[in-house]
């Protein structure tokens, strides 16, 4: 399982997490799926709509924002392939709360933002039995996928 992402897009993801610090930043990935590889073509940074006082450790994407993302994906002949969010001053590992809210199939990229500076990035996918997350390899690329060109 691999999440392939352009270096420039990953930098935008990291910047988004830094800009939202000390709250959790969030967004979605639009891209294409080829076998076990998901290739990110576009990112959509979104608003964290969780209650303000809890945003340091919680995020929520409004379903209407997801509708917008789905419509944008359809317009560009892409798919919503994953979610990115940041963990302020916490490791880039999913929490029990992440697990309880996780959807199958999506790739979840977590960025650890330490003291306002983006640190590690790790990607995860929900196991079929919902018992845990399985780590995905993050492949950083310099060029967009051939399938999208």
């Amino acid at each position: 399982m691999t999440l392939s992402i352009l270096e420039s897009l990953l930098e935008q993801v990291r910047n988004h997490g830094e800009n939202y610090y000390p709250e959790e930043g969030v967004g979605v990935f639009l891209g294409v799926v080829t076998g076990e590889v998901r290739s990110v073509v576009q990112i959509l940074p979104l608003s964290n709509t969780f209650e303000a006082e809890a945003r340091r450790s919680r995020y929520l994407i409004d379903p209407k924002d997801m509708l917008t993302a789905e419509n944008e994906a359809e317009r560009r002949s892409l798919e919503v392939i994953g979610i990115f969010h940041s963990h302020p001053d916490h490791p880039a590992r999913p929490s029990a709360y992440d697990l309880s809210w996780a959807l199958p199939w999506y790739s979840y990229l977590i960025t650890s933002v330490l003291g306002g500076a983006a640190s590690e990035n790790r990607a995860w996918r929900l196991a079929e039995d919902r018992s845990k997350f399985l780590e995905e390899k993050v492949q950083i690329t310099q060029d967009i996928p051939q399938e999208v060109k």
Binding site: L60, I61, M66, H90, W101, L103, W105, Y106, A117
Partner: protein
């Protein structure tokens, strides 16, 4: 009556890849039940074990969230568009772990060991007292006593930060315990109990050495033991997967 229900991307593997499915039912509840009847693999992702819709499942009828209408009892009329939209949520661990610079802690331990061994060699009891004082002041301020020395090493790039997700409180406690032992050592010097004084100083050297070279903080282990006993003021548990007192491994970057 038949209507179409649109399923989000993550659930399409359970609908044979179909984006829209024809469902029967005069209410939202009946429509979704028909959906899971057609595609049983969807059920565990839409419903929790108690049969309630999972919190991330939102159902829209046309442009309206059914929660704003009559919930799952919202009537479905011919031509209505049903859509399952996920709420995407999650979040970090709500524990109190924070990045702790273990390079600063190691510098502290090295400085303590160096000064105490130097004081033993030079028979300088005053250095023992001063070292203890620096440790106690550091404990009161919540920082490693020799943090200024570490900052110099850091400024001249002689040492890089090593940030690890950890609890700072046990390390502060351990420094305080070491400072108290050196204070007792100083009192022993003042009372003419020189042998006892050096034994206490060497105890601190040994414990600091165990921490610096073997990654085990006895004072931290003591803190976590008091935490297990439920003592007030010792409210931090060891980082997940870490033996109490051992240096954690979860890097923070």
């Amino acid at each position: 009556m038949n209507n179409l229900i649109r399923v989000p991307t993550p659930l399409r593997p359970y609908t044979d890849g179909l984006k829209e499915i024809e469902v029967m039912g005069t209410t939202v509840r009946a429509a979704i039940e028909d959906l899971t009847h057609q595609f049983p693999g969807l059920k565990s992702h839409l419903y929790d074990p108690d049969g309630n819709l999972r919190p991330y499942v939102n159902v829209f009828i046309n442009e309206d969230d059914v929660r704003d209408l009559k919930g799952q009892e919202t009537p479905v009329s011919n031509g209505d568009r049903l859509m399952i939209l996920p709420s995407i949520a999650g979040g970090g661990v709500s524990s109190e772990l924070r990045p702790v610079d273990h390079s600063a802690l190691r510098t502290n331990q090295a400085a303590i060991i160096g000064l105490l061994i130097g004081s033993f060699i030079g028979d300088a009891a005053l250095i023992v007292g001063l070292t203890g004082l620096i440790m106690l002041v550091g404990t009161l301020l919540g920082v490693p006593g020799f943090k200024s020395f570490y900052r110099i090493l850091n400024r001249y790039r002689l040492l890089k930060p090593n940030l690890i997700y950890d609890n700072p409180q046990p390390h502060r406690f351990a420094q305080g315990v070491g400072g108290m032992v050196l204070a007792l050592s100083s009192l022993a010097f003042l009372g003419g109990l020189t042998t006892l004084a050096w034994v206490l100083a060497w105890l601190v050297i040994a414990l600091a050495g165990l921490n610096l070279f073997a990654g085990y903080c006895v004072g931290c282990g003591l803190y976590y033991g008091l935490n297990r006993l439920g003592l007030r003021g010792f409210d931090r548990s060891p980082p997940p997967g870490t033996f109490p007192g051992r240096r954690p491994t979860a890097q923070s970057g």
